[in-house]
C-alpha cells in the first residue's frame, strides 16, 4: 500500500527547500525575462523589433524552452537521491516508515511542484504582460505552451531522478545528467538529420515521425508547433509529420509515458 501522507511529507520538504533557497523565484525571473525579451526582440533578425504575434512568440519560446527547461530540470533533480546517499541521510530516511517508492514519488512530486511553480509564475507573468495584445484563442495556445513546458520539465526531472538513483556519487550523477541533456536536446536530432541525409530521405516517410516520438524534446516541439496552422507550414513539419500522430492527447500521453518510464527504472534500480 502506498501511503500518500508520506509522499506529501517528503514533497512538502523538497518544495519548501526550493522556495527557501530562492530557486523558484530565480528560475521564475529567468523565464519572465526570456519570454519578454523573445516577445519583443524575437523578430529582430527579420529587421523588426517589437511584439509581432503570439504564434511567432510561442515558436521562439519553444526553441528556447527546449534547451532551457531540460537543463534546469536535470540540475534540479540529479542529486535528489545520490545527494542523500552522500550525506548519509538516505539510510536514515529509509529507516523511517517510508518505502522506496514513496520516497521517490515524494522527491519527484516536490521537485515537480517547484519547477511547475517557476514555469507558471515566470511564463504566466510574461503572459499577463502580453495579455492586452493577444486574443483569447492565442491565449489558449499560450496556456497549452505552459502546460507542455511543465510536462517537459517533469520528463527531464524523472530522467534526473533515475540518474540520481543509479549514479555512484554526485560527480558522476552531474556528468550523466549533462550527457542526458546532450543526448536528447542536441545529439538525437542531429543523428536523425544525419540519417535522413545519408539515406537520401529514404527511411523518412514511416519511420521518421515515430523516431521523433522517441524524444520527449521533439514531442514538446511537435505539440506546440502543430497546434498552430501558420507555424506548421512555416516549419515544414506538415510534410514530415502525419496528422494522425499529431493528436495532442496522443502526444500528451507520450510525454506522460516519458515521465513514468524513467521513474519506473529508478524504482527498479533503487536498492
Amino acid at each position: 500500500m502506498i501511503e500518500l501522507a508520506q509522499i506529501r511529507v517528503v514533497a512538502a520538504k523538497e518544495f519548501r527547500d526550493r522556495i527557501r533557497n530562492r530557486w523558484v523565484i530565480a528560475v521564475s525571473v529567468i523565464f519572465t525575462l526570456f519570454a519578454l525579451a523573445i516577445a519583443y526582440f524575437g523578430a529582430a533578425q527579420q529587421g523588426e523589433v517589437g511584439f509581432r504575434s503570439i504564434e511567432v512568440t510561442i515558436a521562439s519560446l519553444v526553441s528556447l524552452v527546449i534547451y532551457l527547461i531540460p537543463l534546469i530540470a536535470l540540475i534540479l533533480g540529479y542529486d535528489a537521491i545520490v545527494g542523500e546517499r552522500e550525506r548519509g541521510s538516505l539510510d536514515l530516511l529509509l529507516s523511517m516508515p517510508i518505502t522506496r517508492l514513496e520516497l521517490l514519488l515524494g522527491k519527484f512530486s516536490g521537485l515537480s511542484a517547484a519547477l511547475a511553480c517557476a514555469t507558471l509564475a515566470g511564463f504566466g507573468l510574461a503572459g499577463l504582460l502580453l495579455a492586452g495584445r493577444i486574443d483569447s484563442g492565442a491565449l489558449y495556445h499560450y496556456l497549452g505552451f505552459m502546460l507542455s513546458a511543465i510536462l517537459l520539465g517533469m520528463v527531464f526531472l524523472s530522467l534526473a531522478v533515475m540518474v540520481s538513483v543509479m549514479a555512484k556519487d554526485r560527480a558522476r550523477a552531474s556528468g550523466a545528467a549533462i550527457a542526458v541533456w546532450f543526448l536528447f536536446v542536441l545529439v538525437y536530432d542531429l543523428g536523425l538529420l544525419g540519417a535522413l541525409v545519408l539515406s537520401g530521405g529514404g527511411f523518412g516517410e514511416d519511420l521518421f515521425p515515430l523516431l521523433l516520438l522517441l524524444n520527449p524534446a521533439d514531442i514538446f516541439r511537435i505539440l506546440n508547433i502543430f497546434s498552430m496552422e501558420d507555424l506548421k507550414v512555416f516549419y515544414g513539419l506538415a510534410t514530415v509529420f502525419p496528422a494522425s500522430l499529431s493528436n495532442p492527447w496522443l502526444l500528451g500521453s507520450m510525454m506522460v509515458a516519458w515521465i513514468v518510464m524513467p521513474l519506473t527504472v529508478a524504482l527498479w534500480r533503487f536498492k
Binding site: 500500500m1 508520506q6 511529507v9 517528503v10 520538504k13 527547500d17 527557501r20 533557497n21 550525506r87 548519509g88 541521510s89 539510510d91 536514515l92 530516511l93 529509509l94 529507516s95 523511517m96 516508515p97 517510508i98 518505502t99 536498492k271
Partner: protein, 301 residues
C-alpha cells in the same frame, strides 16, 4: 521468546563475491544495551543495515520483536525504532526544529514532541537556527534527538558520540541510562572502547564478518585471558622476586621502589597473598584489569 527484541539466525551477507557477514547468530534481550565492536570493515555497518531492514540478508533470518525485517508489518514496527547513522549530515536549509519536525511527520508522531526532545539533548536555544550554523557536536545532538522521536523501544546508535565534547558524551550517556531504565533496548557501536566499556551489558566482537566473541566485558576478559597488571610500591622491592617464588608470573619489573608484575588471572589471589607477606613494607597496590582495548586487540590480533 517474548523477551528477545532482536534475533539473528545464521545471517549471511554477500556483496557480489565478497562475504561481509559470515553466519552470525545473536539475540538481544529487552532492556539490554549491546555494544557492537570491530575494526572498520568487520561488518558492523552491514549488520546494522540488515537489522534495520535497509539491505536484505543473503541468507538467514532477522527478526525484531518476532517480526521479519521486511514488509508491511515491519513498516509499522519502524515507528518504534530509533536510528542514528554514523556521520549523518542534515539539511542545511532547515532549522533544528524543522529537521526534527520533518522526521516526526515521517514517523507519524506529533510535532509538539519535538521541542521537548531538543531540550533533552541541550539544543533548545538553537532550535530556530539553521542547521548549517550548527557545530559538529550540535549536529550529533540533533541526530540523537531525531533517534528519540516517537518514544522508541529499540535504538540503533552508530558511533553516537563522534564529535561530542566530554561533557556532551556524559550527557548523552545520562539520557541513555534514563531510557535504559525505562526498558529501552539499545544496540550501540563505538570506536572509543573505554567509553562503552562501562555502559553496555554485553559486547559483541565482530571480526571479518564473523561474531568472534559475545559476552559481558568480564566474560570476554576471562575468555581472552590477558595478563593482569599489578603495580606495587614498596621499600622492600628487592624482596618481591623472592616472595613470589613458585608463582607463575609473566613479567616482573623493578624500578626503585616501584614493581610491576603481570600475571594470569588464576594465580592472581595466590600472588596477592604472597605480596601480603611483605607486610608493612608495602605502601600501595594497584590491580589493573586488562582494558577493553586490550581485550579487543587480543581478539582482533
Amino acid at each position: 521468546m517474548k523477551n528477545n527484541v532482536i534475533e539473528l539466525r545464521n545471517v549471511f551477507k554477500y556483496y557480489g563475491e565478497v562475504l561481509a557477514v559470515d553466519g552470525i547468530s545473536l539475540t538481544v534481550h529487552r532492556g539490554e544495551t549491546l555494544g557492537l565492536i570491530g575494526h572498520n570493515g568487520a561488518g558492523k555497518s552491514t549488520l546494522f543495515k540488515m537489522m534495520l531492514g535497509l539491505i536484505p540478508a543473503s541468507a538467514g533470518e532477522i527478526r525484531i520483536n518476532g517480526t521479519p525485517v521486511r514488509g508491511a508489518a515491519f513498516r509499522e514496527l519502524r515507528r518504534t525504532i530509533g536510528y542514528l547513522p554514523e556521520n549523518v549530515v542534515f539539511y542545511d536549509n532547515l532549522t533544528g526544529l524543522e529537521t526534527l519536525q520533518f522526521f516526526a511527520s515521517l514517523k507519524g508522531c506529533a510535532h509538539e514532541s519535538c521541542l521537548p526532545l531538543l531540550e533533552k539533548v541541550g539544543l533548545a536555544r538553537a532550535a530556530n537556527r539553521r542547521v548549517d550554523g550548527y557545530s559538529k557536536g550540535m549536529r550529533q545532538r540533533l541526530g540523537f534527538a531525531q533517534a528519540l522521536l516517537g518514544k522508541p523501544r529499540l535504538l540503533f546508535l552508530d558511533e553516537p558520540t563522534t564529535g561530542l565534547d566530554p561533557e556532551g558524551i556524559r550527557e548523552f550517556y545520562q539520557v541513555l541510562q534514563e531510557l535504559n531504565a525505562q526498558g529501552l533496548t539499545v544496540v550501540i557501536t563505538s570506536h572509543i572502547l573505554s567509553e562503552i566499556q562501562e555502559r553496555v551489558q554485553r559486547l559483541a566482537v565482530l571480526k571479518s564478518g564473523k561474531l568472534h566473541a559475545l559476552g559481558t566485558v568480564q566474560e570476554l576478559r576471562e575468555e581472552v585471558d590477558l595478563p593482569l597488571t599489578i603495580r606495587l610500591r614498596t621499600v622492600a622491592s628487592a624482596m618481591v622476586e623472592h616472595a613470589l617464588q613458585g608463582i607463575a608470573v609473566e613479567a616482573l619489573v623493578v624500578e626503585g621502589p616501584n614493581v610491576t608484575i603481570s600475571c594470569r588471572r588464576p594465580v592472581k589471589m595466590a600472588l596477592l597473598r604472597r605480596l601480603a607477606t611483605l607486610g608493612d613494607s608495602v605502601e600501595d597496590i594497584v590491580v589493573k584489569e586488562p582494558s577493553l582495548e586490550d581485550v579487543f586487540l587480543g581478539y582482533a590480533a
